[in-house]
Symmetry: D2
Subunit: 396 residues, 4 copies
């Protein structure tokens, strides 16, 4: 009998029932006269989630990786310098993409577990008197390590240096789950995907671009066509698309935006904190460590948990999957075998997370790791017994 | 945001994904020439789950209560005597139905927590030299108390007394979850419903009748029409129905039977034991009591758990629902306020049950009951960490 | 490759997408504290569709046939006289049920193709000075013949005779499609089913009962339990049920009522007239006859169409199904082989009906019936090209 | 009440029920240990539909346009010459993409209504003694005009000229509907999308590449990352992906491939011919013209139909949509206002197409075009009445 358990990887995330049903639609004509009645409010509401009024939101049939490529190819030219920091699999991959697309990458790397190093950025940007750096790339939430970076801090560093570089943010595993403010933080291009906080299947790259970003597009010389902002926006303004959009997923996105906006983004963020903290309490009760190097880095969407010295995280993950039908996130790249991850974003409940914690305890014991059964569960239970108001206050 | 938790009431039970998808069908013509290609194997496979070759299986658009009525009205006449035992809400209601339909009911009641009293039955049947008792009614699994009765024992008692009464079994919350053998146990009419072990939405009464039962129908004088076996079977033999059948639910039943028969009924039963025992270990760890009065009565489909003296089970259940989105079963009739129930039948996993145990712990603490958080969870985890083979052996 | 065509039998009918999605839900707790928030408005809105304020609406897990049984067993006693008229398979079956339940049936039959004979009813009721007739049964829409009877006329006949008999109406294939007014027409019990105008899968008997009907229930002596009004209403008033309700179908009913009430019942009725008339125009263009004996009897939910002398309707229906994936309704009982039926109720469109008309033309030709291809289609097209306003006026 | 009609645009196409249900799945872990058990056979079966054994099949979260970009950027370098022919909106757009990506485009255009001009291609390729043309692009089925080109002919022309250029084929609206043979025809890169013959929602670019294409990728210098074949194939070989794949759509693809391979591709193609020819017969009966300039160009997946001089195709399409809920394809670019299109690919039946033909007749009459109601329908009916075997023979 196949398992009926939810999944606890940091994306794709579990589909809310309303989203699941919204996805289950017959096909429709993407050139129908009333199609804009559906799409124009969709763009408008997507902008609300990105918290941009001045910018534009775009929906590509693609993964978040496609969104990264869109951000770069639309705004930069071959040989342009970009500044970034690598501290996990995904920040590493984005930097790698830059190189492959012919950009010059300046990296200010930090150990995995930390996030964007504001001081190093300040130093490099301050030294770049000629403003050769055209864009700064920041991974808001590094999914591989469970680390959240300080994006307003990056903006401050840019402003303090009086540096005109564009600011690009990878918000794949943050936007719609963790506080993100495109306009207020002066972000020029923000990239997300459907399968994380938007609680949809994978298949949509959700991108927002500022007016500065669009201005940059005019002179950007990297070749592009599929991901071209201008083509897309020209048609989008009429409610249509330059090529067949992923209408099924977009019907799901409508339901997702309805859920998010009805709950209120602040409540969504508070809920994610509440959910995440239960997992962190469990980790503390196990006397184990998060990859994130300090409280300031802790992600409310995913926790990367180090198994004790001598433990085999790969065995924990495989055992959890095969014996208990529990999907945990794997350790990626240098963290392989050393960590397992629990995704606590999107449509999860206290009881769902408790089941993941309990399953992790069982799988750790099966893999020979000395964790007391029920200990992490009890810590999470204590936390979750507090009412939401109390938790919300604690979050402030 | 609406909860995404599974439910833990003893029916309806959680839909397996394969069943859920099978239910999602466009409407079809129940008089189509090839409709029998669907229905005839459906009846055949339903008989396999009831473990009857000699009898017939029927599918009524109704609840299990309708199945009770079908059993009685097809086989008995006004004033006929029936023997039964009341030890819970559902055995009580079936006896009540007998009276309302004009039957004379002889009851051999026992305290709630016990099941069919074989000795009392033996005594009464032995004394009924004139064989005035036309039918013996036995509730195989009393859903209100979590008590499983000894049906082969009832057959033995009838045989020992040389008594020709028909044997009717309420298998609503047992069949497809707990060992049941219609032919081998000499059951004349067995009643189940779609929303328990069959893992479907409510709406189908699933009934099996022996040849003796059908013979009795010929002289039975209780008025009946909707639930008439003869009308139904006459058309069923051709693959059709005397009135519009619940085709949507029947498509789901096809998927359900496929799952059950593919897993193998013995494996299904072993799995239910494995799941149930985890809950019982948790209750023991809490130092609390089941309603079932001893190990011989313990049900593998539902556990009715007494809250300690002074505790308010109603507050536990309401709190679980409102605070944690956890649906527990309520205490019915005389058990109201004294017990909560955890359904562990159908499509549930170890991790799902652990989440229910954890939620019950939290809700009990919220309601002022002194239970140690994580204690029941840890006991269940220990049990579930044993591999299935070990558990299967233990079950023998 | 399986066919993707809609069906054109007079029930089950095609599911609207909104209903289909509403049906696709996880299971829920029918004893949850907030379950009444769902059920109480459901009863209230169901009453609006029956157009009763004074009466009560009930939802049984059953087919419409179960609804018939509910109406009879709750209000009558063994030996009671009922008056009815048989003019088709379903009015015949209801009369048959009366006999089997021990009632004395007075029939005023008319040829199949006509409906309730008001003059004969007047005569019989007028002669029944002792008011021995306890109930008058009228089939509002005989699904087998496509005949709609004059229910207000039946009420008038009763009133003119000053006769106190209860008035029961079989509205299975009329309610929610054809004008029906429970209170205004003085109907005491109206029976419908989920799979016709309510556009749901089969499995719910939808019944409404007047206060007079409920009063009669107090002294009615026919045995009943599953279909007992009092049990059901007692619990329904609190939002709950005496046994597990068909929650899945009820979630679909919510969507169905929303669609019906949002469109407005008068618009629903006008739409059914518009759809039906297109089929009738096609039949006229074919120079063929409806079973209904005159315009006053024509049903807006189903047309029973006589094939010409020498034609084999069974071959037409089988050919349509096997060659074109077209489900037409069969001729029932004495109409077998002589008619095919097109259901034009529920969620059908002009183009869907045209496809059924076209398929019937092809299947008739295949079966050797000399009908001109496209002739019926053209007549229907002409009709449907008129705008809805024009049609609505024509309907007045 | 929303319409329940299928759509008749040339993509997205109507979802078969089996595909629709397969799409309705909870999210899963794309890094689960048993994920390759799902993906490896999926790639293998996708290759069967492309009819390639030597090549590789790739699945990108993208539209078909993304597939075009993948073909170009993986195999070519800036300034490379490509030969193509423009004869419709989509062949035009692909040529445009080439230019935007920095390729030099040699075009051998023909009037819209014709397809790839083999003679012109032969001339140009023959004159290219230096083999500066690196790739030949051919649109197998131009969706805008309903024209199918002769791909084996293009291969012959290349072979006759002894020209080593790569052969790229846009098979978006042909593959899985019209005969296509990657290996036999020597195609180096074939591009399709999920929403046409694969009967899925839009969102997957389905691409196949030959070993020569992969060899070319090693020296190709167009920047690429998201659409990089090598990255993708490296991971695909293990059953995984370099970034999150569109798992939901891929589950649908599994069902789609099952349907296609079970029916047999030859049967699929014959069915498309059968369906298409009915539409063409209707057009002939209307005395109207297809855009395709002759029988050799006629597409079995879409027909572009010219309205008579003075007619307004835009009004026909708008009227069809608003009055009858009928989605027809619009005229694109220079065909705007002059044609409407009927898509007859994927999961359509005879009766569905007849409903589209009938609706088109009504909408044309509403728009003042003198077409006889039912005339096209009758012609299609005559054709569809022939049995499939007869049609299959006629197709040979």
């Amino acid at each position: 009998m196949p398992t009926q358990n939810p999944i606890f990887i940091p994306g794709p995330t579990n589909l809310p029932e309303a989203v699941r049903r919204a996805l289950d639609v017959p096909m429709e004509d993407q050139r129908a006269p009333d199609f804009p009645d559906f799409t124009l409010p969709l763009f408008a509401d997507l902008k609300r989630v990105f918290k941009t009024e001045a910018g534009e939101a775009l929906i590509f049939p693609a993964s978040g990786t496609g969104g990264w490529e869109a951000a770069l190819t639309n705004t930069l030219s071959p040989g342009d310098k970009v500044l970034t920091s690598r501290f996990g699999q995904f920040s590493m991959l984005w930097a790698d993409m830059c190189q492959r697309l012919g950009l010059e990458v300046i990296t200010a790397d930090v150990p995995w577990g930390e996030g964007v190093p504001l001081d190093k950025f300040a130093e490099i940007l301050g030294a770049d008197k000629g403003h050769e750096i055209k864009a700064v790339l920041a991974c808001h939430n590094e999914t591989a390590t469970g680390v959240t970076s300080d994006i307003p801090g990056v903006r401050r560093v840019l402003d303090d240096a009086g540096h005109p570089a564009l600011l690009f943010v990878d918000g794949v595993s943050s936007i719609a789950s963790i506080d993100f403010r495109m306009d207020e933080w002066g972000v020029d291009c923000a990239v997300s995907g459907s399968q994380k906080g938007f609680m949809l299947p994978p298949g949509l790259a959700l991108v927002a671009v500022s007016q500065r970003g669009l201005e940059a597009a005019k002179s950007a010389k990297l070749p592009r066509c599929y991901f071209d902002f201008e083509d897309m926006l020209k048609l989008n303004r009429t409610g249509f698309f330059p090529y067949t959009p992923a209408v099924g997923l977009m019907r799901g996105l409508r339901a997702s935006l309805d859920l998010l906006l009805e709950e209120g983004l602040d409540n969504v963020f508070a809920r994610h904190y509440r959910m995440a903290e239960g997992v962190r309490r469990a980790v503390a009760a196990w006397d184990m460590e998060l990859v994130s190097a300090g409280p300031q880095w802790r992600s409310d969407t995913v926790s990367a948990i180090r198994v004790p010295e001598g433990g085999d995280a790969t065995a924990v993950i495989a055992g959890a999957y095969h014996r208990y039908g529990l999907s945990l996130g794997t350790g990626l790249a240098e963290l392989s075998g050393k960590v397992f991850r629990i995704g606590h974003l999107g449509s999860v409940t206290e009881l769902m997370l408790i089941s993941a914690i309990a399953g992790a305890e069982m799988a750790m014991r099966d893999a020979g790791i000395a964790v007391e059964l029920g200990s992490g569960v009890a810590a999470a239970q204590s936390w979750y017994r507090q009412d939401s108001d109390t938790v919300a206050q604690a979050a402030e």
